[in-house]
Amino acid sequence: MDTIYLDNNATTMTAPEVLQEMLPYFSELYGNPSSMHSFGGQVAEKIREARAKVAKLIGADPGEILFTSCGTESDSTAVMAALNAYPEKKHIVTTKVEHPAIKSLVEHLGTKGYRTTFVPVDSKGDLDLEFLYGSLDDDTAIVSIMWANNETGTIFPIEEIAAQVKKRGIVFHTDAVQAVGKIPIDMANSSVDMLSISGHKLHGPKGVGALYIRKGTKFSPLLVGGHQEKGRRAGTENTASIIGLGKAAELAAKNMAKENLQVAALRDRLEKGLLERIPNARINGNPDSRLPNTTNISFEYVEGEAILLMMNELGICASSGSACTSGSLEPSHVLRAMGVPFTCAHGSIRFSLSIYNTQEEIDFVVEKLPPVIQRLRDMSPFWADRPQ
């Protein structure tokens, strides 16, 4: 049975070109980029190239790119750097719909003497900007807001927010792991101070990330030790993965148009096909401002984990905001923050596509999913009694 992979916001396939680029650095080219000899030096040269490619993807200067081990490390580095830079400031602003990499970190800091503000969203998942700006004060050390939401794909007006936050002289960070490579980002014309990137979300390898740090931003390292990354992140470089991330960034820049035309078209085909064939289904998120690859659909009167497991039997991979898949018995914090009724939150499925998906795959899902939903609905005590 072939796998139809529609869970690309969880992780992506490592592009074959990326893998090829990486392989020599696991074998013959094992040198340490910090070494004086040219055997190590040639690896340092490749890392320089990778840095330039990542920088180019987001319109940054190579000197503004710091390699890390993952998106989470990039996020933690950014937040802690801002807090250390302004030790007298004790207020952190973020949103209610952040990925746990930021949400849990800020909640944790809330127990360590920091004041925290979580900006709410409306039913489409759009931020309450008035609330956000109203919450800023002289005590605010950092504002951290994701560029695009991983569950719904909703894109936030980051440039507009960053400009407003900068006006107040406050550091602005964005967790852009879902956005980089999917939508155009240009740090050269931006007020963003720091931006997090994750390798495996853009067809690079797992275990590598990057943090963009605008020149002139006060910074202190999270990991202290050796002088790697100009002293901004100690630890021997994950050479193969960094080089892989460079290649992935190069490919992403090349494929961006395809992402926004071909992938968006497939996503729309999937969404339209499912909504036409399945009654009592609704889209979560803002269809007008959304990542080209993501759709989040709620199927009323059925439960998400059951849908996922039945799709699994058909080789279809997706994910759910249902309580039963989170292990917490509580549906997705993102959908709840949006006020999505419990009745819909439990039956939500996120499909996230990539350039490797085909129309045949999408058509297969459109054909196979409606009977799955119907089967589960026929078992559900609420389906027969639903309000007509």
Binding site: E303, A306, L309, A323, C324, L329, E330
Partner: protein, 271 residues
Amino acid sequence: MWEYTGKVKDHFLNPRNVGVVENADGIGEVGSLACGDALKLSFKLGPDNKIEDVKFQTFGCASAIASSSVLTEMLKGMTLEEAEKVSNEDIAEALGGLPREKMHCSVMGRDALEKAISNFRGQEAKKADGQIVCDCFGVTDKEIHRVVKEHNLSSIEEVTNYVKAGGGCQKCHADIQEILDSYKGDVKPKPAPLTNIRKIQLIQETLEREVRPTLKQDGGDIELVDVDGDKVLVRLQGRCSSCQASQATLKDHVEAKLRELVVDTLVVEEV
């Protein structure tokens, strides 16, 4: 990915007895759309008063559907008296086990069965009596007390796994902890037996603190001579040594105190 047994998968993918029994004798409904799972169980008795037909409708995850399905298989052919004895553990066992986080699915099956039987007997299905502790899932203190007692639960997480309480906003965690704490005394391990040295120390302390001051008030005194097993050898002094009531003092006062505060098998003897 949950770790499901082959039986859970089988009952989920090929559920038995889905639907509502026509002209059912008893119907039980539990759960709601809001809490993410719900079950409607209906049954009909045969002429022999055994369950002849039983069907379910479930909204929920794979293990909720599988729990309902396997329950209907178990119930067929049972008398109501037998059915009443089916526990949530029986349901989980019939499925070859459930992940701990999914135990509440089997509890739901049992609850629906209980309601269906009450419904048949014409009893008003037991209203949730007691006080709501968990607002998110409408769980009462009585229900929490019941699972804590029945399953010897010791953490909030375990309570959540069984009845969902505390799985939402978590505001009720302090209340659940209080309920858990109220059972702590029941399972408190017995204190380890005293070492000989500790026993002697305790005896000495008790004599110093509790016994000597009262004896001294009467112009007497007591001295610890030796401890041999449970035998405490003492020497009475001052007016006590010549007191007619000295034996009574030893037994009623000294020995009683030592038994109360040290070990209840001690015997006091005068040397």
